[in-house]
Structures are given as structure tokens and as C-alpha cells.
Amino acid sequence: MTKLKFRFSRKAFAYPYMIFLLLFVVVPLVIVLINAFLGDDGKLTFANFAEFFSDKGGGLTVLGNSLIIGFVTTLICLVIGYPCAYFLAKYHASNKVLVLLFILPMWVNFLIRTLSTKAIFMALDVKLGMGTVMFGMVYNYLPYMILPLHTTLVSIDHSYIEAAEDLGADRFTVLWKTVLPLSVPGIVSGITMTFIPAISTFAISEILSSSKIFLFGDAINMHFSKTTNSFGVGSVMSLVMLFMVIIANVLVSLTEKKEEVKSSL
């Protein structure tokens, strides 16, 4: 008779979380996948896909708007965030308080921050709309851009820069030819960390435009919470969202392999 042995290894500590993942991530995804192919009558159908891709309910328009807003948010975050991260990294050793100041807003719940932003805009008599939404988005996602950039920039070996300077490069050339290429992994992870949440957000646009600006997240939310029989289309939209996340992650892993410099974030 063989004795069933249960060896208690360190691996066992991971099981509870594995089970959690299985129950609350994998199973719901499977349900979403099944729902996307179910019609009102419970039969297999592609009608949900047809409805979404024919733009009858404005789904594609919303997706387009969300992508544009996400893209512009990411761009602004990058333009503001890179110099910021660069100088933070440069003065890192002497000024940790400065880094803390940039992380500080992340400690406050983003809903509270957004509601306060709205209150400020209302007090200043600023009309809520695209401008305020963009402000809120950049404000909220900027730390997610700065932090990965900062980590990468700090980890760049200073001898590269010295070498470049020794070889006669001026300060701009050092930045352009040495620092920037070495920080590409940070840029890529910063972009994904900003772009992905930015296209799926709905709370910021809802609060800062009083729901006037309708994003992809809003549309998905509406299909699930305001109606009883359009779970199918909502599931298709969730799948589209998921598809974009996967593409973004594939892109990240590609650049990471190529550069062989892994960002520590």
C-alpha cells in the first residue's frame, strides 16, 4: 500500500492565491467569453459581435474616443513625465523628499482626488468638458508614468554617461544618444501603465464632465448595470478591451527582450 504523501514545501503558500485567481479571474473571464457568444434566446450566435462592429449603439465611436483620449493622455504624461523623472533621477541621492512628493498623491484615493478636482473647477467657474477630463486624466496617471521612468533612469550605470561625455558628446547628445535609448524599457512600461487604465477608465470622465463624455468603460458599465438583456454586447466589448491589454503586454515583452535591460518595475 502506497502512502499518499503531502510534502509541505514553500510552494504551498502560493496555493491560496492560485485558487483565488482561478475562482475570481479565470472563471469570470470564461463566463464573459461564453456570454459574448450567447443570444437572447440562449443559443450560440455571432449577433453580439455584429451589433458591436456595425456601430449601431455607437460602440465603435466610443472606442475611438477612448483610444484618442488615452493616446493624448499618455503623450502628455510622457512629455511632462520624462523631464520630471530625469531630474528626479539626477538629484535622487540628495533629495528623496522630492520623490516622495511625487508619490504622495497616489496615497490619496483617486475618487477623492477627482471629486476635489471637480470642486476646484466648479469654484473657479470652469466649464466641465473635454478640457477638465484631460486635466483629471493627466493628473491621475502622471505618477504611473513617472515612477517606472524614474526607476529605469536611476538604474542606468553612470559610467555610460561619463563615457559619452569623454568621447566629446555635448549634454544634448548624451541625453539623446545614451540616456534615452537606455530608458526605453521604462518608457514602454510607463506607456502601458498609463494607456491601458486610461482607455478603460470611466470614473474620471464621469465626474469631471458630469457624465457628458462617454468612454468605453462607461459603455461597458451601461450594458451590465442599466439593462438586463445586453450582457452579450457588453461581453464583446470587454473582450475587445482584453484584446487590447494583451496586445500592449506582448509589445512590452517584445521590447524588453530586445533591449535586454529589464526595468525593475
Binding site: K56, K212, T228
Partner: protein, 581 residues
């Protein structure tokens, strides 16, 4: 010793469990259970009253589990999937219709006393059937609106009132800032009655802007059904439906002109023509909107961020009561067409009060007000029903006692004070009932504004808004809006009012097969209008300009560098490049 300790611990544990169980059930009376599935904040603190009532009828204890939902749709999804173990639910009328059509409701027969009490176990010497208390106007309206409901897989038709017991009802209307309207010069019965639902679209009824001040200050409800109803009414009033006929082949009024339909028929009309017109109107409306509200509507109006909101009567009532401002003089403001504030004064106790400098009267008015357009409106009902596939048959007795409990005048009064909507219990029954009067008096006459004000000895020294029951009764039951003489709390009282007939209030049924089309329309209307393309354009422009500036800077730099090179050469000296080498 090592073995005794665990045994001892177990014994202590068991003992404590036994003690706590005994503490829960000291008199050893069997406990029944009931699971109530209701809107959040939609009942008063009923527990003690209901436990006492239940015990007096059955001699048993009751444990009520109270579960809440936030939209009819979440409730429907749970009941239809049958995965919620709930005994009694309180959704809106159209959700009840939907459940009934799917054969998911148990007959209640609350308005046929013999049938209702037939399988009940109660001490009938103490049991009073409250079916007669329910307002017959409400019941009539429900049965008239839904007519004969055919049930899936069953022969014949059913009557809604056999399956539901109405709980609360109210209207859909326009909550507006009265003083903003005065400032814009549109606080006038003639103007508002002409614009009606057009107020939400900033349309004065002739297709012109009602007021420039309204642009960007209108809130629309983020609710498909309510927004659809308001838009339909607006289309009809503004003449956009003139000469058009219904294209809905499945309806009884196919081919009839929209203008000939009764409000009850019209509010339920859905066809492609109406949908595309609605979509157009809602898209155009966006330019006038402050936004769509879900929960923040009241706050935005009170803070002055917006002036108009599509609202339900109970929410509106609450917002109006919150909007009391001591310093506003109503009479002079209306007369002069602008906000008139009083001057601050102090009485002998140091309390602030305001006196108007024009009329020398003490000031104070509600800043917000509520208006139900007279051309057409929506009236809605929430009611209790038993879902067939999720209720526990053992709980049936408790369910029936619970429903009957809710229809006693005193409980109705408590609920009205707590929730703010009108109870379906006949206002006359509430007014005549001594207990109910005592409740309303307690809540309003004694506990009103300064209910927690106490002197140093802990005695109540609350100040009262109403001197007597009669004064309060007039406020509560016969309160008329100064603008159009309407009674918000009891829209049915309007039926004997010349300004409006009961027929102008329609009940909205479930969209049925058209549901998907309406949802698609609403999604489309929400998605379009605010386009992000200009944003992309601006970004491209900024990028091009930035690139241009960088190129220009480079160019100037090179130009300067080359000049420096040339200069020493011209004077015959050595170039700096050379000296470096």
C-alpha cells in the same frame, strides 16, 4: 494535564455557545424567517414594530434578513436566474410586469381578503386586514395601465393587482432652481407651461432658446426609461410629431396619429421613427447640458452648479426641503424679478433672522422647486410581490403578515416620513387614523428642525415649525405649489383640480421586445456629440508647432555657430576649431 486542557477549553466553548444561543432565544419560542429584497433606504426602522406585530399574531419570533438592490435590472437579473433566496421583493411596476409575464410571480390576492387569509396562520381576533386601506385610485391606475397581462406558458390573462401590493408612488418632473429662474425671467406660469418638458431641452415651446442662462446648466437623468419618456413628451409638445403616425405594427394604435394617442398609450409607444427622433433630440440636447446625473443631481442643484434636473417626486421633495434659505424674500423676488435678500437681525436670544428691506417682512424660502408639466407626465409605482422560484414556502405566512403590516396607516405614515415618497395607502386613511396622526406629529411637530436641541438639564427645548396638527395636516396633505397650484405629494388629488386631469399622467410599461432598440438608441445618443477628434487635431497641431520650434532653434544655433567660425577667419586669426586641435 495536557489532555485535560483541550477538553476543558472545548467545554468552555460549548458552554458559551449554549449560553449565547439561550440569550438569543430566552423564552424558547420558535423563530420564523423572512428575506426581504428591497431598494436601499426604502423603509423606516421597522424592526421592533414588526417583531411585536408578528409576535402578537402568531406568538412566534421572526428574524428578518434585509437585502437591497440599486436598479430594477440587477434585481431582475438575480430573480430570473433564480440564484437569490429572497421571499418578497419591491421593484417598480414594469419590473413586476416583466416577472409576471415570465410566470415568475406567486398570486397574492391581497385585495380579496378571503383568499388572502385562507392559508394564513394567525390569531384572527387580532388580525386586521389592511387591504381596504390601499388607495383605489392607485390600484385603478395600475390595472388600467397594464390591463390583461398574458403569462408565458399559461392560459388566459392575469390582473396586475392580484400579484402586487402597491407600496410607494410618485411622478417624474422637473426639479429647478426657482431663484435662477427668477433671475432669468422665466419663473412665470405662462412661460413654463408653454415650454413644459422643453425646459429640459432649453426650448421655449416655439423652437427658440428658453433662456441663455439655462445653456450648460441642465441635468438629465442617466436613466433610459425616464429620459425616453421626457424626450417623447418634448417631441410631442414641440410639434416634431405633427402629422406623423405610429409605425408600430404590433400595437393596437398602428397607423393612428401620435397626437390622437392618450398619454397612457403614447408613453409606451416605441417605433423606429420615434427612436430616431428621440436620438436626434437627445444628441442636440447635449449642447445645453451640464451633464447626466446618477446620484449627484441634488447636490449640483443645491450648490448652484446646475439649474434644472429631471427628477422623481420623492427625491425632488427631499431636495426642496434641503434648500431652505433664511435670507431669501420670496414675495419681493418674484415681484422684482431678481433675488432679494433680507438684512440680518438678531432676536433677544441671539438667533439670526432676516428681514426684507422692501416689504419689512421676515424672510425665508425654498430655493428649489418641482414642476410636473401639465401637458403630459409619468406616474410610477413600486410594489411588493412574491417571486415564485426564489421564495421559501415555509416563509409564506411571514410574507403575508409583513405585507399586511406595511399597509397599516401608522406604518405608512412612518414610511412616508422616512422615504419622502407618497405611500399607496389612502391619504384619508392616514389622516383619520389616530396612531398615524400621532406618528406624523411626533416626527414633524416635535422632532422637526431642532430635534436634538436640549437645555443643560437634558430636557427637549426643540422649536417647532408647526403650531398644531391642523397646520401640519394642511402642509403635508394639501400643500399646493404656488406656481401652478399642484399637489406634489398626492398627484391624485389633482384629479378634482381643473388645472390638470388624471389622464395626463401615464404609466410606463416594460419596453418588452423593443428593449434592445431603446437601449441601442440611448447608447448611441450618449456616445455621440462629444467627439474626441478635435482633441487629436489639437495634439497634432501642438506636436507640429513643437517640432517646428525645435527645428528652428537648431537652425538658428547652426547659423550662429557658422558665423562664429567665419568671423575669426575674416579678421585673419585662427579659428577656435583649430586651436582645439
Amino acid at each position: 494535564m495536557r489532555k485535560i486542557l483541550p477538553i476543558f477549553l472545548c467545554a468552555v466553548l460549548l458552554l458559551s455557545v449554549a449560553v449565547s444561543a439561550a440569550a438569543c432565544n430566552p423564552d424558547n419560542v420558535p423563530t420564523d424567517e423572512l428575506v426581504v429584497y428591497n431598494w436601499a433606504d426604502y423603509i423606516y426602522d421597522y424592526k421592533d414594530d414588526f417583531y411585536a406585530y408578528y409576535k402578537s399574531l402568531t406568538g412566534r419570533n421572526i428574524k428578518v434578513t434585509y437585502v437591497t438592490f440599486d436598479t430594477n435590472e440587477t434585481m431582475l437579473a438575480k430573480i430570473m436566474q433564480g440564484d437569490a433566496k429572497v421571499d418578497v421583493i419591491c421593484p417598480s411596476e414594469y419590473a413586476i410586469q416583466k416577472l409576471l409575464e415570465k410566470d415568475l410571480l406567486l398570486p397574492l390576492n391581497y385585495f380579496d381578503e378571503d383568499k388572502y387569509v385562507a392559508d394564513m396562520q394567525a390569531d384572527f381576533a387580532k388580525y386586521v386586514h389592511n387591504g381596504g386601506n390601499v388607495d383605489r385610485n392607485v390600484l385603478g391606475k395600475i390595472d388600467e395601465a397594464f390591463g390583461a397581462v398574458s403569462v408565458e406558458g399559461q392560459d388566459g390573462t392575469r390582473k396586475m393587482s392580484d400579484y402586487m401590493v402597491p407600496y410607494m408612488y410618485g411622478t417624474l418632473g422637473i426639479l429647478y432652481n426657482k431663484y435662477a429662474f427668477i433671475d432669468s425671467g422665466i419663473y412665470d406660469y405662462g412661460i413654463m407651461n408653454k415650454a413644459n418638458w422643453g425646459i429640459l431641452f432649453n426650448d421655449d415651446g416655439d423652437g427658440n432658446l428658453l433662456s441663455n442662462g439655462l445653456t450648460g446648466n441642465i441635468l438629465m437623468k442617466d436613466s433610459i426609461r425616464d429620459s425616453y419618456a421626457a424626450t417623447l413628451f418634448y417631441l410631442k409638445e414641440s410639434g416634431k410629431l405633427d402629422g406623423l403616425t405610429s409605425t408600430d405594427e404590433s400595437s393596437s394604435y398602428y397607423g393612428k396619429a401620435y397626437s390622437e394617442l392618450s398619454v397612457g398609450e403614447f408613453i409606451n409607444a416605441v417605433d423606429d421613427q420615434l427612436l430616431s427622433l428621440c436620438q436626434q433630440a437627445l444628441t442636440q440636447q447635449k449642447e445645453q447640458l451640464f451633464g447626466y446625473e446618477v446620484d449627484f443631481g441634488k447636490d449640483d442643484l443645491l450648490k448652484g452648479n446646475a439649474m434644472v434636473d429631471l427628477a422623481w417626486s420623492g427625491d425632488a421633495m427631499y431636495a426642496v426641503e434641503e434648500s431652505w434659505d433664511d435670507s431669501l424674500c420670496a414675495a419681493c423676488s418674484e415681484e422684482r424679478g431678481e433675488r432679494v435678500y433680507g438684512e440680518e437681525q438678531r432676536d433677544e436670544n441671539g438667533n439670526k433672522y432676516y428681514v426684507c428691506k422692501h416689504c419689512q417682512e421676515e424672510c425665508g424660502d425654498y430655493e428649489l422647486s418641482y414642476y410636473v408639466p401639465h401637458s403630459a407626465g409619468n406616474i410610477w409605482f413600486d410594489g411588493w410581490a412574491i417571486p415564485k422560484n426564489t421564495y421559501n414556502p415555509e416563509h409564506l405566512n411571514a410574507i403575508k403578515i409583513f405585507i399586511n403590516f406595511l399597509n397599516s396607516p401608522r406604518v405608512a405614515a412612518e414610511n412616508m416620513m422616512e422615504i419622502g415618497y407618497s405611500s399607496a395607502v389612502d391619504p384619508e386613511a392616514v389622516r383619520q387614523d389616530a396612531d398615524a396622526r400621532a406618528t406624523l406629529s411626533r416626527v414633524y411637530l416635535v422632532d422637526c428642525d431642532y430635534w436634538d436641541k436640549k437645555d443643560e438639564n437634558g430636557n427637549d427645548v426643540a422649536e417647532f415649525d408647526y403650531g398644531s396638527w391642523e397646520e401640519f395636516e394642511e402642509y403635508f396633505f394639501d400643500s399646493r405649489d404656488v406656481m401652478d397650484n399642484s399637489n406634489w405629494r398626492y398627484p391624485f388629488v389633482l384629479s378634482d383640480d381643473e388645472t390638470r386631469a388624471l389622464e395626463t399622467l401615464g404609466v410606463m410599461r416594460d419596453f418588452g421586445v423593443n428593449n434592445k432598440a431603446v437601449v441601442t438608441m440611448w447608447n448611441y445618443a450618449r456616445s455621440t456629440g462629444e467627439n474626441a477628434l478635435p482633441l487629436l487635431g489639437w495634439t497634432a497641431l501642438v506636436l507640429v508647432v513643437a517640432a517646428g520650434i525645435i527645428v528652428l532653434c537648431e537652425y538658428i544655433k547652426r547659423l550662429r555657430n557658422s558665423k562664429i567660425k567665419i568671423a575669426p577667419a575674416a579678421s585673419g586669426g585662427e579659428s577656435p576649431d583649430k586651436s582645439d586641435e
